[in-house]
Structures are given as C-alpha cells and as structure tokens.
C-alpha cells in the first residue's frame, strides 16, 4: 500500500498532502511571530519612553532590504510559474535570482548589525535593541532556512524534474509559500521596528 | 456547616464569605460525585457480563443527562455572578481610604519579609536601592524628613485588630507571594510593581491561640514543642510555677514538667498566624515565613512606641 495524495489532490479536500502540511506549518509560524509581536506591544506599552526607530536604525538600508525581499518573492513565484509552463531553464534562472536576493538580504543585514556592534550597541543595551535584534535575528534565521531549501531545489533536488515533474512543481510551490511568508513577516517587521 | 473541609481558623472580616463560597462549591462537587458515583456503581454491577449477557444496541434513550448538564451550568453561573464577581470586586476595588486604615509596606526578598511602618507622621520615607544594606533592608533614606521616624521590622508583622489594614507589596528580587492562610489573603509580589492588598483582622493572636489550644501528650508526639506555648500555668507539687501561661516549651521545660508528673499539657502555637510565601522563589522558599501578631489597638500603639525607642542613636 502506497501513501496516497502525495502528488494528486484528494478530491474532497482539493489539496495534496504537502500543500496542507505547509499551511499548517505556516499557521504555527504565525503564532510564533504573533507571540513575539504581542511581547513587543506589551513591553512598549508598559515602557515609560520608547525611542523612535528611525532615529536609531538605518532606514535606507532597511528600505533596500524590503525591496530585495519583495523582489525575491516575485522571482520565487516566477520560478514556479516557469515550471508550470514547463520551462526548466527559466525556472533555474528565477530560482537562482531568488537565492541571490536571499543572500543579498543577509549581507545588508550583516552590515546593519556590524554598524551597531561597532558602536558598542548590543541586545543588552536596552529593550529597544533587545527586541530589534531578537526579532530581526529570528527572521534572519528563517531567511537562512529558506535559502537552504531553495538551494536544494535549485541544485540536487531539481533532478526530480526529469522523473516526476508534477511532484517537483508542487515542492517548489510549497517552498515558495514558505518564502513568501518570510517576506510577509518582514513587511510587518519593517514599519514596526524602523518607522514607529 | 463546612468544618469537614478542614479549613484553617479564620481571623479576617472577609474570610467567612470566602469560606461560605468554598463550602457551597464543595457541596456541589459532592452532590455531583455521589450522584454520578452511585449511578455509576449501580451500572457496573447490574450490567456485568454474567448478569447481562447481551448488550442492547441503543442504551439510554432519555436525555435527562442534558438537563443535568444544563443544571450544572446554571449553578456555575450562579456561583460566578452571585459569589465570585462581587467577592473579587470587594477584594480588589473597595479598598478603604488610607486615612481610616493602617498602611504598611511589605518588601519581599530572598528569603525574608521586610515590614515598613510609616511611623507617627504616617508618611513613608523615600527608599532607594542604592541604600540597601544588611541593616537597611528596604533601602530607606533616613535623611529624608518622612523617613526619620519610620519603623522597619524583619519577618515580624504586628497589626491592630478590628481596623482595616492596607499592605503595599513589592519585591526586591524575584516573585514571591504574600499568603496568610488565617487571613484568607494571598497576593503574588511581582518585582517592578507595587500591589496593594487589604483585610481586617477580627481576632487577636491571643484569642486565636485560645481557640487553637489542644491537649498534647508530653510522652509520645511527633510535633516539635519548641514552637508551642502553654495556655495555662503549670504548678509543681512545691507550688512553684514550672511553666507559666505563655511559656515556650523548650526541651528542658518539657523535662521539668514530666518530672513533676504532668503527662499532657494544653498547648497552642507560639505564632498561629504566619505569612507563608506561596510562590517558588529559590532554595529558601520553604523557610520564607514571617509571624503576624494581631494586637489590640492599645497594645499595638505601645508596640510602635517601643520600636520607636530603638531609633534614637
């Protein structure tokens, strides 16, 4: 007996297993970042005074990063679309771009962190920096995770295209869903930490 | 009506309400448990295989259980609206105004209770953590006008009877919990916050001791007598008082009494009312206790005056 609905969708739910799986996983991720946002709100409301992000943090860099991440989302979805259009070469190109964007994001973050550290600003400085480093750091880890997955599907994982193209397309879609979520989290982190 | 619960003696004005509520809930619990229990045991016996070989497919048809559940829900609603909400409101909203209450600060630390009285001027001196030291546990600023006459005691709380008391709780280090079972108060002490509780003691330590007094056999007994005081004078054959009322029963006293032929004595705890820290706060949590002695107003003022004497350098 083989495990059903790994590729085709189950008629009554209209989903294949990993599609449902990733959405459930994302639901838990929502709760994870939700809890951190909740913590942020509570601490900020309770605090006597709280600095205005844009005075302490580098908004232009963050803006750049936002653009990069949004861009990577587009290339990601394009890579999936190319697979839907059976164009493997295009897929490789778009996926490659996505990965590059991911690295780009991390590099920019690296500069941001570096600047702070060089001024002796660490998480222990005060609650503002504590939240800043913790939230962006955790988000950074998610980006790294995403890059690893994407690298796999760009490189070794993509062999599956030859054998089971449909299944491979599903996998890329699922990886995409995760990547877009990471982008989505940043879309909220950006104004909350940098602009308010 | 609900002595069966074995609640500790209550010495507070609001206690009876809480105890009454405690009783009501437990009666409800018993009713449910006995009711279901009886039904349950009956089924277990009546429908055992040997007596009821073939099961019937449908089983119970009536929906009486639904009504029972609705009943339970209603009773719970009554408990909330009728008891819980008003009682809680009384505890946390209806504080007496400071002027007709005794106000004390309690500063908890690992593992002690520091009690801070405002002194005659009724004003608390300012405090500052940088002043904290072994002999100034609350970091009281004596140079501050209001602080000069303040009285600070450690693990010893003295309060007047029949007068509302407001306790302002704060902590120096970790979370503790100000729990006084005999006063039916409990309030976590959260560092970084000042949380008030209020209550009114209606019994002096003496009368509590009288109520808790029990005859104990001197020969065999698990309890450590050293925390017990005698509740009456014990006179030897040569009419010398071996243990006057209120003597601490240290081993030597016990020996003397046994030699004098006493087999059992009427005893009561030396400090029947205690603050029991009710939140894990480290390795000394189990011994973080303080005595609370309730005195008459006169005695209380006398005590304050006496404490004030120690302030003169």
């Amino acid at each position: 007996m083989q495990i059903p609905y790994t590729v085709a969708a189950r008629p009554d739910t209209g989903l294949h297993n990993s599609k449902l799986g990733i959405w459930l996983f994302l639901a838990s991720e929502v709760m994870l970042f939700g809890a951190l946002f909740s913590a942020y709100i509570l601490l900020r409301v309770a605090a006597s005074e709280w600095p205005h992000g844009s005075q302490l943090l580098n908004v232009p860099l963050a803006f750049l990063n936002t653009v990069i991440l949004i861009g990577s989302s587009v290339t990601m979805v394009m890579s999936w679309a190319s697979l839907m259009m059976k164009d493997f070469q295009k897929y490789r190109r778009y996926m490659g771009l996505t990965i590059l964007c991911g690295f780009g994001f991390l590099v920019v973050k690296g500069f941001e962190y570096g600047a702070k550290f060089s001024h002796g600003l660490f998480p222990s400085e005060d609650l503002f920096y504590a939240t800043y480093f913790t939230l962006t750091g955790l988000h950074g880890l998610h980006v790294i995770g995403g890059i690893i997955v994407n690298l796999y599907f760009w490189g070794p994982g993509s062999r599956m295209w030859k054998t089971e193209p449909e299944r491979f397309t599903n996998r890329v879609e699922v990886a995409g869903l995760y990547w877009h979520f990471v982008d989505l989290v940043w879309i909220f982190l950006f104004p909350i930490l940098y602009l308010l | 009506m609900n002595d069966f619960l074995g609640l500790p003696l209550d010495a507070s004005a609001h206690g009876p309400e809480i105890d009454a509520m405690m009783g009501v809930i437990h009666w409800l619990m018993f009713a449910l448990f006995i009711g279901w229990g009886a039904f349950f045991t009956y089924i277990l016996i009546r429908f055992r295989r040997s007596r009821h070989a073939a099961a019937d497919y449908t089983g119970v048809k009536s929906h009486s259980s639904t009504y029972l559940e609705i009943g339970v829900a209603l009773i719970e609603a009554v408990l909330i609206v009728g008891f819980a909400i008003p009682l809680w409101a009384k505890r946390v909203n209806e504080f007496p105004p400071d002027r007709d209450a005794v106000v004390v600060r309690v500063v908890a630390e690992q593992f002690a209770w520091n009690i801070h009285y405002p002194g005659p001027d009724g004003l608390f001196g300012s405090t500052d953590i940088s002043l904290v030291s072994a002999d100034n546990p609350v970091g009281l600023d004596r140079s501050d006008m209001d602080g000069k006459d303040d009285i600070v005691t450690i693990n010893q709380m003295v309060l007047p009877v029949d007068k509302p008391v407001i306790v302002r709780l704060s902590s120096k280090d970790v979370i503790h919990s100000f729990g006084v079972p005999l006063l039916r108060v409990k309030q976590d002490v959260i560092p970084g916050q000042v949380i008030p509780v209020w209550f009114k003691a209606v019994e002096t330590t003496e009368s509590i001791q009288a109520k808790m007094a029990k005859k104990y056999s001197l020969v065999s007994s698990g309890i450590t007598f050293s925390t017990m005081v005698t509740m009456e004078d014990y006179v030897g054959a040569d009419s010398t008082v071996i243990a006057a009322k209120g003597t601490l029963l240290f081993p030597d006293v016990v020996d003397q009494l046994t030699q004098a032929g006493f087999t059992e004595v009427l005893l009561s705890p030396e400090t029947p009312m205690e603050i029991a820290c009710a939140q894990l706060c480290g390795l000394g949590h189990y011994r973080m206790r303080a005595s609370v002695s309730i005195k008459t107003m006169a005695e209380y003022e006398a005590w304050l005056a006496e404490e004030a004497l120690y302030l003169q350098p």
Partner: protein, 99 residues
Amino acid sequence: MEHTSAEDIKKHVRTYILVFVALLVLTIVTVGVSYLHLSIVPAVILALLIASIKGALVASYFMHLISEKKLVYFTLILTVVFLITLLSLPLLGFHDTIQ
C-alpha cells in the same frame, strides 16, 4: 493550482508584476509617511494599515490565497482568532490590574 493551463499562468505572471509594483509603491509611501513625523496614534494606524495591505497582496496573489481551498481558509481563520486573543487578552490583563 494543479490543473492550470499555460495560458492562465501567463495571466498570473502579469498580475505578479502588477503586485510587485504596487508593493514597491506602498513601501515608498510608508517610508515617506514616517518622515512626516505624525503623532504616534495616526502614525501607528497608518503604518499598520499599509503593512496589512502589502501583506494581503503577498498572501492573496503570491501565495494564491484568493483561490485557495476552504480547508486552508478554515485553518487560517482559526489561527487568526487565537492570534487575536494572544495579542489582546494579555494587553487587557496589563491594564486591568488592582488600582
């Protein structure tokens, strides 16, 4: 999105580009607004509003939420409900304390 033909994929691609542009514009807008130094309340509302719009765009087009199965909707709605309790109740707790 299993059985979509190459044709409507092409349509998709067009929307993706549009969404991309929209996201860029909105990003510029938020940053711009932040330089107006509005007082905190409107600033927060505006920033979160824009962020939500952007989030909605990403979710509904890149993640295809507009055309998802109801099981996924169900999961997400459930999640959002609990998310709201997680965000609101502790806050209520912080404000409704003894005195």
